[in-house]
C-alpha cells in the first residue's frame, strides 16, 4: 500500500506512456466510448422527461366536461356546482369560450394568427373538473351521465401513451446500459491486452525483480479509467450541447410541454455520465487485467 502512494507520480507517467505507445487506437477507443455513452445519455434524458410527464399528468388529474348545446348558459354554474359535489371531485371551474380561445392562443404563440381566420370563436365552453386520480373512472362515468354534459375529455389516453413510451425508453435504457457495459468492457480489455503485449519485456523484467502483480497492473487500470472517463466527459459535453439546442428550438414552440428545468437536466447528465464512465473504466480494466493469466 505504501509503495502505491509513493508511486502515484510514476503510475500517472506510466499510463501516459501506455497511452502514447498506441495513441491512434486509444484515441478511437475514447471516441467510441464517448459515442456510446452519449447514446446512453440520450436515452436516460428521454426516460427522465417521460417520467416527469407521467408524474405531472398524474398530478393534474383533471377532466374536461363539455356542455350539451341545449344547455342554457345560465344553467352552467348550477351544473358545475352539482359536479363539484360528486364523490372524488375536488373542485370545478367553468372555462368559457373566450378563455378557451385565449388558452389556445397562448399555446400556439406565434402561430395563433391562424385563429384570426375564424369569424366566430370556434371554441366551446367547458367545465374543468379536478379530481382524485384513483377515482378517475367513476368520476368520468358519473359526469358523462349528468344531464347537460355532452361529452367528457380526459387525459387518460395521453397519460397511458406517455407511460408506455416511458416504459419503452426505460427498457431501452437498460439495454443501452448493458450494451455500453459490454462494449466498454471489450474495448478496455482489448486496450489493456495490447498495452501489456507492447510492454511484455518490461513486465517480465518487473516480475523477475519481484514486483507484485497489482503494481504491474495498476498503470493499466489507471489508463483504462482515464480513457473511459475522457469518453464520459466527451459524452457529457455533447449531451449538454444537445439539451441546450433542443430546449432552444422546442421550448418556444411547445410551451405546454412540461419539460424539466434545463439546468437541472444538464447538471444531472454532466454528473452521471462521467460517474458511470468512471465505474465502467474501473471494473472494465480490472476485468481486462483478470483475463490475463498471472504467471511467475
Amino acid at each position: 500500500m505504501r509503495s502505491f502512494l509513493f508511486n502515484i507520480g510514476y503510475f500517472i507517467k506510466e499510463s501516459g506512456r501506455i497511452i502514447r505507445l498506441n495513441l491512434l487506437s486509444n484515441i478511437f477507443s475514447v471516441i467510441g466510448t464517448g459515442l456510446i455513452l452519449f447514446l446512453l445519455g440520450v436515452v436516460i434524458t428521454g426516460t427522465d422527461i417521460g417520467n416527469r410527464l407521467v408524474v405531472m399528468l398524474n398530478e393534474e388529474a383533471e377532466v374536461n366536461g363539455y356542455f350539451s348545446l341545449e344547455l342554457a348558459s345560465e344553467k352552467r354554474d348550477a351544473l358545475a356546482v352539482k359536479i363539484s359535489n360528486m364523490d372524488g371531485v375536488r373542485s370545478t371551474r367553468i372555462v368559457d369560450e373566450d378563455e378557451a380561445k385565449t388558452r389556445m392562443e397562448n399555446i400556439l404563440g406565434e402561430e395563433a394568427k391562424i385563429l384570426e381566420l375564424f369569424d366566430d370563436n370556434p371554441f366551446e365552453a367547458f367545465v374543468e373538473i379536478r379530481i382524485n386520480v384513483n377515482a378517475m373512472d367513476s368520476v368520468i362515468d358519473n359526469v358523462k351521465n349528468t344531464a347537460g354534459i355532452e361529452y367528457v375529455r380526459d387525459n387518460r389516453e395521453v397519460l397511458e401513451k406517455i407511460q408506455d413510451i416511458t416504459y419503452a425508453l426505460k427498457i431501452l435504457g437498460y439495454l443501452m446500459i448493458a450494451a455500453v457495459g459490454i462494449t466498454t468492457l471489450i474495448i478496455l480489455s482489448h486496450m489493456i491486452r495490447q498495452g501489456i503485449y507492447n510492454n511484455k519485456d518490461q513486465i517480465n523484467t518487473l516480475k523477475l525483480l519481484g514486483s507484485p502483480g497489482a503494481f504491474i497492473g495498476f498503470p493499466y487500470v489507471l489508463t483504462g479509467i482515464l480513457l473511459t472517463l475522457l469518453g464520459g466527459i466527451i459524452a457529457a459535453l455533447s449531451i449538454a450541447l444537445l439539451i441546450n439546442g433542443a430546449y432552444d428550438s422546442i421550448g418556444g414552440t411547445i410551451p405546454f410541454l412540461p419539460l424539466p428545468v434545463r439546468e437541472e437536466l444538464i447538471d444531472k447528465m454532466t454528473l452521471w455520465l462521467p460517474a458511470i464512465s468512471l465505474a465502467l473504466g474501473f471494473f472494465g480494466s480490472l476485468f481486462g487485467l483478470s483475463s490475463i493469466r498471472e504467471r511467475r
Binding site: 505504501r2 509503495s3 509513493f6 508511486n7 507520480g9 510514476y10 519485456d201 518490461q202 517480465n204 523484467t205 518487473l206 516480475k207 523477475l208 525483480l209 519481484g210 514486483s211 507484485p212 502483480g213 503494481f215 498471472e294 504467471r295 511467475r296
Partner: protein, 221 residues
C-alpha cells in the same frame, strides 16, 4: 539460506539440466559457480529465482519453499534478491537512473530515499555521469554496470550474477568481480557464475560449485 535436497531439473524437451543437487548456502557467503557452457549454471540460478521449479527434490530459499510455490511467494523471495542477468534485462526507453529505480519502486521506500539510493548505487558502479542516458545508448560494459546498480540498490540479501565476466578482457573481468565482491557482507550472499575458471583460481574464503553435465561438486576454501 538456500537449501536443496536431491534437486533435479528436467526441461520439457527432456534435457537433464541438473541432477541430484544438494547445496546449503549460508548468509554472507561468496559462491562461484563454474563449469563449461551448457553445464547447468544458469539453470541453477533460475531454480533459486523460482523461474523454474525442481522436477524432483526440494528447494528452499530464505526458508521458503520454491517447490510449486504460489506466484506471490516467489515474488516475495525475488524482492530479496538482486539479480544481474546475463543479458541484463534493462528496460529500454528509460534512463539508467529510471532503470535502477524501477527495481526499487515496489519495495516500500519513500521516493526521495529511493532516488538517493539509486544515485548512490550508480556512483558505486562508476556510472553517475550516465545516469540520465537512455540504456539503449549505453555500451555493453556500461549496461552491465547499470544492471549491477539496479541489483544492489535494492539492498538484497542475495546477489546473483550470471556470467558477468563473459565478454570482458582479463583486467575488466577482474574489476567486475571485485565490484561484485565489494557488496558482500555478513548479511549479503553473492553468487557468481563463470566459465572462466582461471579468473578465480587464487580466490580464498569462497565456495566453489563446479557444474559438469548437470552434476555438481562443492569445495570451500
Amino acid at each position: 539460506m538456500i537449501i536443496s535436497n536431491d534437486v533435479s531439473l528436467i526441461y520439457p524437451d527432456k534435457t537433464q539440466a541438473l541432477i541430484d543437487i544438494n547445496i546449503d548456502i549460508r548468509p554472507g557467503e561468496l559462491v562461484y559457480i563454474t563449469g563449461p557452457s551448457g553445464s547447468g549454471k544458469t539453470s541453477l540460478l533460475k531454480l533459486i529465482m523460482g523461474m523454474e521449479y525442481p522436477t524432483t527434490g526440494s528447494l528452499s530459499v530464505f526458508g521458503k519453499s520454491i517447490n510449486n510455490s504460489r506466484s506471490g511467494n516467489i515474488r516475495k523471495i525475488r524482492r530479496s534478491i538482486g539479480p544481474v542477468f546475463q543479458e541484463f534485462k534493462l528496460i529500454e526507453g528509460r534512463t539508467s537512473l529510471e532503470n535502477v529505480m524501477m527495481g526499487m519502486r515496489f519495495l516500500g521506500a519513500m521516493p526521495k530515499q529511493m532516488k538517493t539510493s539509486a544515485n548512490e548505487a550508480l556512483e558505486k558502479v562508476g556510472l553517475s555521469h550516465k545516469k540520465l542516458s537512455r540504456v539503449e545508448n549505453l555500451s555493453w560494459g556500461e549496461s552491465q554496470r547499470v544492471a549491477i546498480a539496479r541489483a544492489v540498490a535494492r539492498k538484497p540479501s542475495l546477489i546473483l550474477a550470471d556470467e558477468p565476466t563473459g565478454n570482458l578482457d582479463y583486467d575488466n573481468a577482474i574489476n567486475i568481480l571485485g565490484l561484485l565482491k565489494s557488496f558482500m557482507n555478513e548479511n549479503t550472499t553473492v553468487i557468481i557464475t563463470t566459465h572462466a575458471t582461471h579468473l578465480i583460481k587464487d580466490e580464498q574464503n569462497a565456495t566453489f560449485i563446479s557444474v559438469d553435465k548437470g552434476r555438481i561438486e562443492i569445495e570451500r576454501r
